[in-house]
């Protein structure tokens, strides 16, 4: 085990203010819930080591301020992310409606290499509360429309599903780091002239 190399996974948690980002992170890393957490100002992160498929990885979980105005500094924090966790509050419809803009904002600021394949995970938090305003189905529909984002219903308060969710987050982040491995299998060893024409794009790689 000692000889194995550790991998760092950078994960960003985003979502409206008060959906439970800080609580989820603390529940996962420290296994405790407190209603004394302060509203996050700026950004903070916690790290946790875990084993995914026999591999030890370190997750660096970044918690950011939920009010949209902090975002001008976002670039510095989002860069190099391996996975983005979007959180909404199942009892607050507006937090669900903001998901699109959080996702867009992240993609703009972090500008990952393949935005359409960048891993997101959606968490519907506070399932211990009622009344519920967003059904699992509605959340799942949204996820489907975004290239099948994995969805988890969590409660940071009760610790419900939190462990599972973050494990999935780690897996997705890890897959992201390795994803490009298979990209070149499509290159044929021999030239198949018929295949190449339609796929060849005139992409100018320097376009920024």
């Amino acid at each position: 085990m000692a000889s194995r190399k550790k991998t760092l996974l950078k994960v960003i948690i985003l979502g409206d203010s008060s959906v439970g980002k800080t609580s989820l992170m603390n529940q996962y890393v420290n296994r405790k819930f407190s209603n004394q957490y302060k509203a996050t100002i700026g950004a903070d992160f916690l790290t946790k080591e875990l084993t995914v498929d026999d591999r030890t990885v370190t997750m660096q979980i970044w918690d950011t301020a939920g009010q949209e105005r902090f975002q001008s500094l976002g670039v510095a924090f989002y860069r190099g992310a391996d996975c983005c966790v979007l959180v909404f509050d199942v009892t607050a419809p507006n937090t669900f409606k903001s998901l699109d803009s959080w996702r867009d904002e992240f993609l703009i600021q972090a500008s990952p290499r393949e935005p359409e394949n960048f891993p997101f995970v959606l968490l519907g938090n506070k399932v211990d509360l009622e009344p519920r305003a967003i059904s699992a189905k509605r959340a799942q529909q949204w996820c489907q429309s975004k290239n099948n984002i994995p969805y988890f219903e969590t409660s940071a308060k009760e610790g419900l599903n939190v462990e599972q969710a973050f494990l999935a987050i780690a897996k997705n982040a890890l897959a992201q780091q390795n994803s490009t491995v298979d990209l070149y299998n499509e290159f044929p060893d021999q030239i198949k002239l018929t295949n190449t024409q339609k796929t060849s794009n005139n992409g100018d790689s320097c376009a920024c």
Partner: protein
């Protein structure tokens, strides 16, 4: 398929292969900049290797060469090992690794191994060998470009005629492209294990205490003459005698990405330039890039024709090469910017000779600003833009930008032209640097002299002449060269002393001009003030209730703070609420007025709050209803569907007893109607005049009727669903959705027309001591429910909408939809943050005090709706409230406090100024720290100070310490510096300076460190240090 078409296809394919390599190279290079390391196992490394493999496989003469292993390129590597020393090294390593792996029969680097886990050196691999093994190894060992170079040079032997590698252009491009990634150091990257075993902050502090016992006192350090040495000064020059097309191709590649010689700081395509000496009538698009080279910054612009490249015949291209721009920033003195709303702006560079370079027209989208800020950063640490891009005086007129470009003068609102001067504090250092390079080159690689001198001679500085050795040297024998070097050395020693002195003078002048605004010029003596304002002192200062010696109050506070018992009395003076010299009666009068005004304002927003609350309930109801409708049509198993369908029937109370998955929904939907009925009646009693009761009753009846109707409808739906689940659910959903949309629109209409009739009865009771909260709660409740009724009625298309009279009222006006929305949004934010404000502090454990906080916050936001609530404001109110325990006084003082603080919030400019000032201060006062920050992933953006400045260190300190710090900050304005927070920040950094330096902290380290250190600082020593730093700067400026 015709021959022509076929070759076109092949060309396309090659183009595609090379494009892919380009893309991957760019990715790896970016990763090396944006992350602090490129991990050997990084996906982008694998992708790059894959792309290279694809290129090398194409057109390989497998059969002829007998390359039959699974990976023919690995076989190729082994084959060429005889002739290429680089290949031999890699070949040997590959074999070593494969021999260690018992699972391997043959070298198969491209079969399906999915988890690359390459170990450095020859430790036993725990996992299967990674893909593209040899290419990886060659990359990490920096041999890949050379190996490919070899293949390209000997392509005829190993490749088909039409292979990519055998192609004159593509082959060269391929090997040139890989030079960048080969220059990266994959082994020197930060070790994860080291990072993750980083001890927590307190352990670091502990260790430091034990090891040193005392911390290095911060001092004004003279700027050190440090030059960044170029890394591989001339390793690339061996390629210089290539043919010109190859050279062009190589140059082209170099502008695309950074390599060991140049860092790409900025790149943007489709930037328009009208080249000089061209017959063109219009500017043409091209790729603009900014490069950091050992000699300094360079701006390049390459016409698109060259970028898309290699399609036109060479004659056409050569014209474009003449159009291309290559400007060294050393030669530029002024940067003129013309901004206009139509285009993205124009930049004109003006040289020392006064000659303008062709205008550079940016496309829209903030690229010009990005370009300028890249220049500004690139000039650091020795040069800068004057005025700085982020100046202190930037006006509010640019607030729409994230990081506003300030005007030269705030007053020039109409003009959008700026002129920046490029100031090079140490252009002289650069000459020395160049000479150093020269020396190194002479010592080791005499043949490179010419090349080096060539670049040196382009320096624009006047002092260069004496060192122009290139005229004499080229054809001289080695002994002459050595003589020249000795001469240059002598001069260098003399010039170093001279430049050192000169730099120091310039440094001082920078300090004067740049930083003099940060401290007051008058140095106030702190003698006898270290105890601050004690009860005794105060009784001397406050004679018969009048305090007139304000200077002494400020002085004592600045140097010694205020005793806890007096804070509530003195803070209003410091914040500007009480006037010095006022009498007790005047202040009492002021307090009464303040209270009156506060209560009036409160009554205004409370009325709006009531409406907002109602709307919330509607939305909630709507969402819940939608939820039920969804689940009804959902794909769950039939029994569940049945249950949830029942929930839809609000009025059926018996459902509350049901159990099951959807209990929560049932409960709420079932509860609500009861609630409504009761409250509606109460509401009618309280607020409506005669006739209202009847109306309400009517409404309710209607509601019931409608709901009955709905019951029927739902039952129908239920049957339908049961009968034919699969076919009907789609329709059902659509129908449901429609009706909800209706609801929503009608409600909007309704809200829009809320007419407020007369002042509410409830508001009168506000001026009484405390019943306001309970009273208000009642109002809110009632209002909620009454509107609730309306919704339900409307939801079912009732015609009785107009009967709903607005319950909320204030001064008889109509609230616009916009106002309601804005305030509502703010209200929610406030509530969320009040709930989370310092709940572990005794004062805010009381619900009553949280309500006070909320009231103050809401009142402020109501009065400043344009500013709105922003996260952090609650933190600023809280300490004031704790001290005063009086809403209206807290409110008044908070307003004063916000006059300064509001600029820190995201719509203001102060935060960027703080960051910029921190940069300058650290550079001047602790250049070593600056260098560290710059070197470790460059966090000289100082974002880790964001929370410090936003909240005046409130989150960094415990309550008593916050109080002590805040009063010093307020007093400092009058006594020492109105930017005292900067010096506090510096003091915090300096306090832990040795820990930061010895651990080589990077951005994440420092964030972690200070977040962990929050509320654990020794505030008195930090304050003391901050005052000393102010004094240091004051003395520095005074002495010129």
């Amino acid at each position: 398929m015709s021959l022509g078409k076929m070759s076109q296809n092949e060309k396309d394919f090659k183009e595609r292969l090379i494009t892919t390599v380009k893309k991957e190279v760019k990715q790896v290079m970016e990763e090396s900049v944006t992350r602090k390391f490129v991990h050997e196992e990084s996906g982008s490394v694998t992708s790059l290797c894959g792309a290279v493999e694809a290129c090398l496989s194409q057109g390989l003469r497998r059969r002829a060469l007998g390359l039959f292993k699974t990976s023919s390129t690995t076989a190729l590597l082994h084959k060429i090992a005889k002739h290429s020393p680089e290949a031999a090294i890699i070949s040997k390593k590959v074999e070593e690794l494969e021999n260690l792996d018992p699972n391997r029969r043959s070298s198969s680097s491209s079969d399906s191994v999915t988890k690359p886990t390459l170990k450095k050196s020859a430790s036993v691999p725990a996992n299967p060998l990674p893909k593209y093994l040899w290419i990886r190894l060659a990359l990490f060992e920096k041999q890949l470009a050379k190996i490919i170079d070899f293949l390209v040079s000997n392509a005829t032997k190993y490749y088909d005629k039409d292979a990519l590698v055998a192609d004159a252009e593509y082959g060269t491009i391929l090997s040139s492209l890989l030079m960048g990634p080969c220059a990266l150091d994959y082994t020197r990257m930060k070790n994860h294990d080291h990072f993750w075993t980083d001890p927590p902050a307190d352990e670091l502090v502990q260790r430091h205490r034990i090891s040193s016992g005392h911390s290095t006192p911060p001092s004004v350090r003279r700027p050190i003459l440090n030059f960044r040495r170029s890394l591989n000064t001339s390793s690339e020059d061996s390629h210089t005698n290539r043919s010109s097309t190859q050279q062009i191709a190589k140059d082209y590649v170099e502008t695309l990405h950074q390599n060991s010689k140049a860092t790409l700081l900025f790149g943007k395509n489709n930037v328009l330039v009208l080249p000089v000496n061209s017959d063109l009538s219009k500017p043409i698009p091209g790729y603009l890039s900014l490069h950091q080279m050992p000699q300094g910054l360079a701006i390049k612009w390459t016409p698109n024709q060259l970028m898309n490249g290699f399609v036109d015949d060479s004659q056409d291209k050569s014209i474009f090469w003449e159009y291309a721009l290559n400007v060294r920033l050393d030669d530029i003195v002024y940067v003129h910017c013309h901004q206009d709303s139509e285009t993205g702006g124009t930049v004109i560079l003006v040289g020392q000779d006064g000659v303008q370079r062709p205008p550079i027209h940016f496309p829209k989208g903030g690229h010009m600003l990005a370009f300028l800020s890249c220049i500004e950063t690139g000039l650091l640490p020795h040069g800068r833009l004057d005025p700085p891009l982020w100046s202190q005086r930037s006006g509010k007129n640019h607030t729409k930008r994230r990081r506003p470009l300030p005007a030269l003068t705030e007053t020039e609102e109409t003009s959008k032209d700026y002129v920046f001067r490029i100031i090079d504090n140490t252009c002289n250092h650069k000459d020395i640097l160049k000479r150093n390079e020269l020396m190194d080159t002479h010592a080791s690689l005499p043949t490179k002299v010419r090349v080096q001198l060539g670049s040196t001679s382009t320096s624009s500085d006047s002092s260069t002449k004496s060192f122009s050795l290139d005229q004499n040297i080229p054809d001289s024998p080695p002994s002459v060269v050595v003589q020249a070097v000795c001469d240059s050395m002598k001069r260098q020693i003399i010039s170093r002393a001279f430049y050192g002195w000169l730099a120091y003078c310039r440094h001082l002048s920078t300090v004067r001009t740049h930083l003099s605004g940060l401290v007051n010029t008058k140095i106030v003596n702190g003698v006898g003030a270290s105890d601050g304002i004690t009860l005794e002192k105060w009784s001397e200062l406050c004679l018969n209730g009048v305090v007139s010696d304000y200077a002494e109050v400020y002085r004592l506070t600045y140097f010694g703070g205020i005793t806890e018992a007096l804070r509530h009395e003195i803070w209003p003076y410091l914040l500007g609420h009480y006037k010095f010299g006022s009498t007790l009666e005047q202040r009492n009068e002021l307090s009464d007025e303040t209270r009156q005004a506060y209560e009036n304002t409160m009554s205004e927003w409370l009325a709006v709050e009531a409406i907002v609350k109602q709307r919330d309930k509607e939305n909630q109801a709507h969402a819940i209803a939608k939820l039920s409708s969804e689940s009804m049509s959902g794909e769950q198993v039939p029994p569940q569907i049945h249950e949830e369908l029942c929930n839809e029937v609000f009025e059926d109370d018996s459902i509350t007893d049901n159990e099951g998955d959807s209990l929560e929904e049932k409960e709420t939907s079932a509860k609500r109607p009861k609630h409504t009925k009761q409250n509606t009646i109460k509401y009618v009693d309280d607020e409506e005049d005669s006739g209202g009761e009847q109306q309400a009753e009517e409404r309710e009846k209607q509601a019931n009727e409608e709901n009955d109707g709905k019951n029927v409808q739902n039952e129908g739906a239920l049957k339908n669903t049961e009968n034919d689940l699969t076919t009907d659910k789609e329709d059902l959903e659509v129908a449901k959705e429609d009706s909800y949309i209706n609801v929503n629109e009608e409600l909007k209409d309704f809200i829009h027309n809320v007419i407020v009739i007369n002042a509410s009865v409830d508001i009168c009771s506000l001026s009484n001591d405390n019943p306001r909260m309970t009273n208000l709660d009642a109002v809110t409740e009632e209002n909620n429910s009454s509107l609730d009724t309306c919704i339900e009625t409307h939801g079912l298309a009732s015609p009785a909408r107009s009967n709903c009279v607005s319950p909320a009222s204030s001064n008889g006006g109509v609230y616009s939809q916009e106002l309601l929305e804005t305030f509502g949004l703010n209200l929610h934010r406030i509530e969320k943050d009040v709930q989370r404000c310092d709940r572990n502090y005794w004062y805010f454990m009381e619900k009553e005090n949280l309500d006070k906080l909320r009231n103050v916050m809401c009142t402020y936001v109501w009065e400043h709706l344009d500013i709105g609530y922003m996260q952090g404001m609650c933190d600023l109110v809280a300490p004031l409230l704790v001290i005063f325990n009086d809403e209206s006084l807290t409110y008044a003082c908070f307003c004063h406090l916000m006059e300064r603080m509001v600029e820190n919030f995201p719509n203001g400019n102060a935060m960027d100024c703080h960051f910029a000032n921190m940069r300058s201060l650290i550079q001047i006062l602790d250049s070593e720290m600056y260098e560290l920050m710059h070197a470790h992933g460059d966090y000289t953006h100082f974002y880790f100070c964001y929370r410090w400045f936003l909240l005046d260190f409130k989150r960094e300190l415990m309550y008593p310490d916050v109080n002590a710090t805040w009063e010093v900050i307020w007093a400092a304005q009058q006594v020492a510096s109105s930017h005292f927070v900067l010096f506090l920040a510096l003091a915090l950094l300096e306090t832990y300076r040795d820990i930061i330096l010895s651990n080589g902290m990077d951005f994440t380290d420092i964030i972690k460190f200070f977040n962990e250190m929050a509320e654990r600082h020794n505030v008195q020593s930090v304050l003391k240090l901050a005052r000393e730093l102010v004094l240091q700067l004051q003395i520095l400026i005074e002495n010129k």
